[in-house]
Structures are given as structure tokens and as C-alpha cells.
């Protein structure tokens, strides 16, 4: 996190705000709700309070403006610059301006008003841009489903360094951004995808192209805005050019950027008994056309051609995959299967049914 130069801050904790005008792109009640939620992001982790006023000059004046709106920082029409705000102080100080020519929404279409206002309020309170790609104060827009939004730890640390901790007995904490070369990094799910490897972690995906040395970190929502975070299992059916993603008792089928119509569907459609509540890991054996699903200490085998589970399953993982025991994530590459459990990775040869190598979970990231 970064303080704004000169460390400006409000000398009081009970601030006022006013919504000067409304965008025509959203219902007023949705605008009110988005702004209220954005203010709560900061008031819930500090002693700050925000009171809405209707007509006088408030500390934080929130408005929608066009192009040149006489503050020496003109907007540029759709896209590009979305909004800006001013550091704490009198007059323009603390004010938030939104570019009226953007498509403001309360969901994943266009630009989510809650996310953008929450970011701008960080400036209104004295924060500058963070270079943590997962931080709310990162300069670029990144959609997160407001229902799932949690203020990241980087932003909590920054705002509490200015205004102190929340008055709550229990101090709120937030998600941290995964670092590819963190030896303690574990994965929720892993899959191949058209020659690349995708490692899922929380609301993020680490993307590794075999011919590029660096690992790319993105929000899952960047590619699939309607997918939840916290994907638990994933596998690629190369033949059908599909990736299947699992979370709790539901699964999605994606082809490239698109989520196939009619998904998510219950996992029971695949033949799991109702006692199974979630899938931990999965991989597809391209040569046999069989998909292996790992749940707790057991696994199922699914025939992609017959579209049904093979008989004689579930079986104990330990009976057929050796000491691997539990599996967090798995994928197959070049004939080997790679099983991940916590920070350990096993390379398994399905032909000889033997573990041929054991590595760190982050071995793919050229650390």
C-alpha cells in the first residue's frame, strides 16, 4: 500500500458524504446501495463513520461528470479513465468523480459501480495506488462479485496505518495475493487449458504458458466473470476442447472464454452419490478417455465416452496411487499425472503405477 504524498488524512473520524447527481445507467436505489456498500468497505476496518447528507457541502461529494468538468482532469469517454478522486482536504478534497460515459452496473457487465467507488474512496481517505495486483487500490479495474468482495489485507494495512484499527473486538483480516514463488503456496485446483497450465487459488488463477518464463496472475473473473472464486477441482477434456470446473456440488463446462449454456449443473449428473458434497481434484487421462475424480480418501473413474461412472468405484486412493493419500489438485501432462497435496507435488506414472518424483508445489514457476 502507498500513502498519498504528504500523508494527508481527515482530522476527524465522522465524515459526511453526499451524492450530488446520479448516473442514468442505474436505478437510484442501486447507486445508493453501491455507494453505501463501498463506504462500509472502509468503515468496517477503521473507526471512520460516514453520514449521508442531502444538500449542504459534505466532506466527500460524489458525482458523475462528463469530459472536461473543470477540475483540470477531464474524462475521456467510454473505457480508459473510469473515475478519479481527491485526497483529504477542503473544497475538492475527498471528492469522487465518476465518468458518466461509462456503463455503470451493479454486476459483472460494464464497470461495477461498487468496486470503482470503493477504490476511489481509498484516495478520498489518503491512500495512493498499490502495486499489489490483488489490492483494491491497484490502479486497473478488476471485477469481483460484490457479494464475494473482501477488502484485501494490503488495503486493510494501509488504511489502518492512517486511521487506526476498527473498534470491533475482533480485527477484520483480508485475503492476500498469491506469490508464484512462495514455497508455502498451495492450490485449490489445477488444469491444462489448450497447452497452458492454470493454477486456481481463491479468486485468482496463475497462468503458465510453456514457452514463457514468467507466470501471469489474474482474477478468475477476468476471463469468466460469472464463475465463483474458490474453484475446488478442474480438468481438461482435450478431445472436446472443454474444461470442467467444480465447486461444492456444482460443475461448469467452459470452452475458451464461454461457459456452456445450462451450467452449473449438479455433480450428481455425473454419477456421484448424494453423500458426495464436493470434489477435491480431477484429471482426465487422454489416452484412455477416463476421468479420475478424487474425493477425500477415495476416487471415482468416469468414462467420458459412455458418460457414466465405471463400476467398482469408489476405490481407496492409497490402494492404487500409493502414498499420495489425499489430493488437493491434479493434472496430466505428457503422460504423467501430477498430484498436489499441500506444498508437495508427486509425479506419478500411470503405466507403472509408481511415483517417479516428488517436488515442491511451485516447481512449474521457474522460481
Amino acid at each position: 500500500y502507498v500513502f498519498t504524498a504528504g500523508n494527508p488524512k481527515w482530522k476527524k473520524t465522522n465524515l459526511t458524504y453526499r451524492i450530488v447527481n446520479y448516473t442514468r445507467k442505474m436505478r437510484q436505489t442501486d447507486v445508493d446501495e453501491a455507494i453505501q456498500k463501498a463506504l462500509n468497505v472502509w468503515s468496517s476496518v477503521t473507526p471512520l463513520t460516514f453520514q449521508k447528507i442531502e444538500d449542504k457541502i459534505a466532506d466527500i461529494m460524489i458525482s458523475f461528470a462528463y469530459r472536461d468538468h473543470r477540475d483540470n482532469s477531464p474524462f475521456d469517454g467510454p473505457g480508459g479513465l473510469l473515475a478519479h478522486a481527491f485526497q483529504p482536504g477542503e473544497g475538492l478534497g475527498g471528492d469522487v468523480h465518476m465518468d458518466e460515459e461509462e456503463t455503470w452496473t451493479k454486476d459483472g457487465r460494464g464497470y461495477n459501480l461498487f468496486i470503482v467507488v470503493a477504490h476511489e474512496l481509498g484516495h478520498s481517505l489518503g491512500l495512493s495506488h498499490s502495486n499489489d495486483p490483488g489490492a483494491l487500490m491497484y490502479p486497473n479495474y478488476a471485477y469481483t462479485d460484490p457479494k464475494e468482495f473482501l477488502l484485501p489485507q494490503d488495503d486493510i494495512d494501509g488504511i489502518q496505518a492512517i486511521y487506526g484499527q476498527s473498534n470491533d473486538a475482533v480485527q477484520p483480516t483480508g485475503p492476500t495475493t498469491p506469490q508464484a514463488c512462495d514455497p508455502n503456496l498451495t492450490f485449490d485446483a489445477i488444469t491444462t487449458l489448450r497447452g497452458e497450465m492454470i493454477f486456481f487459488k481463491g479468486r485468482y488463477m496463475l497462468r503458465k504458458h510453456p514457452e514463457r518464463s514468467e507466470t501471469e496472475l489474474n482474477f478468475i473473473s477476468l476471463f469468466w466473470p460469472n464463475l465463483p472464486s474458490g474453484i475446488q477441482a478442474a480438468y481438461e477434456n482435450i478431445e472436446r476442447d472443454e474444461v470442467l470446473l467444480f465447486k461444492e456440488d456444482k460443475y461448469w463446462v467452459i470452452r475458451g472464454y464461454d461457459i456452456a449454456y445450462g451450467y452449473p449443473k449438479p455433480i450428481y449428473r455425473l454419477g456421484f452419490p448424494k453423500t458426495v458434497k464436493r470434489v477435491n481434484a480431477a484429471y482426465n487421462d487422454e489416452t484412455t478417455g477416463k476421468t479420475y475424480f478424487f474425493v477425500a480418501d477415495r476416487y471415482w473413474r468416469y468414462d467420458e465416452n459412455k458418460k457414466s461412472m465405471d463400476h467398482g468405484y469408489p476405490r481407496k486412493i492409497i490402494s492404487d496411487f500409493g502414498k499420495i493419500g489425499r489430493v488437493d489438485a491434479a493434472f496430466q501432462k505428457d503422460g504423467y499425472v501430477y498430484f498436489f497435496h499441500k506444498t508437495t507435488q508427486f509425479q506419478f506414472d500411470p503405466r507403472t503405477k509408481r511415483i517417479v518424483n516428488q517436488m515442491e508445489s511451485i516447481s512449474w514457476f521457474n522460481c
Binding site: 480508459g80 479513465l81 478519479h84 470503482v116 495512493s128 502495486n131 490502479p139 486497473n140 479495474y141
Partner: protein, 82 residues
């Protein structure tokens, strides 16, 4: 005479780079890249600063990843002190 597409792209890219660095990295508007003041190429220096901030490869050149980052919708507040 119509400009060849590649040259047009290059012109557009230079515009994008200069505007981005003026908006967010305090590149002075009166700076013209082809003028070297004191041997320093300010535009390349600012470009490196931006690449470093975003965790891109620090090349000082408007490579593909850098242009891609500059095209992302974002907040209008500068990334560095003005």
C-alpha cells in the same frame, strides 16, 4: 498519401504511451522523445518506472505487455506523485 497500417499503429502507440505517462507518471508534456536532455531519454525512464510498478519486464520499450497494460481501464489518479 495514406499511411501504411504499421506506421499508423506505431503512431497510435506512441500517442498512447506519451498520454499514459503524462497522465500517470508525471512525464512533462513539453517533453519530445527525440530530444535528449542531458543524455537522458525521459520517456524511456518513465516507461521503466511504469513497467516496474506493474511488475512487467523493465525494458524501457513499449513492448506488447506494456501496451496491453496501458490499454486497461483504470482509475484516473496518477500512480506517482505529481
Amino acid at each position: 498519401f495514406p499511411v501504411a497500417p504499421e506506421e499508423e499503429d506505431e503512431g497510435k502507440n506512441i500517442n498512447l504511451v506519451e498520454t499514459y505517462l503524462q497522465n500517470f507518471y508525471n512525464l512533462q508534456k513539453d517533453h519530445r522523445p527525440h530530444l535528449r536532455q542531458g543524455g537522458k531519454n525521459h520517456l524511456a525512464e518513465k516507461l521503466k518506472e511504469m513497467q516496474e510498478f506493474f511488475g512487467l519486464q523493465v525494458t524501457g520499450k513499449p513492448d506488447r505487455d506494456t501496451l496491453e497494460m496501458m490499454n486497461k481501464p483504470r482509475c484516473g489518479v496518477p500512480d506517482v506523485e505529481q
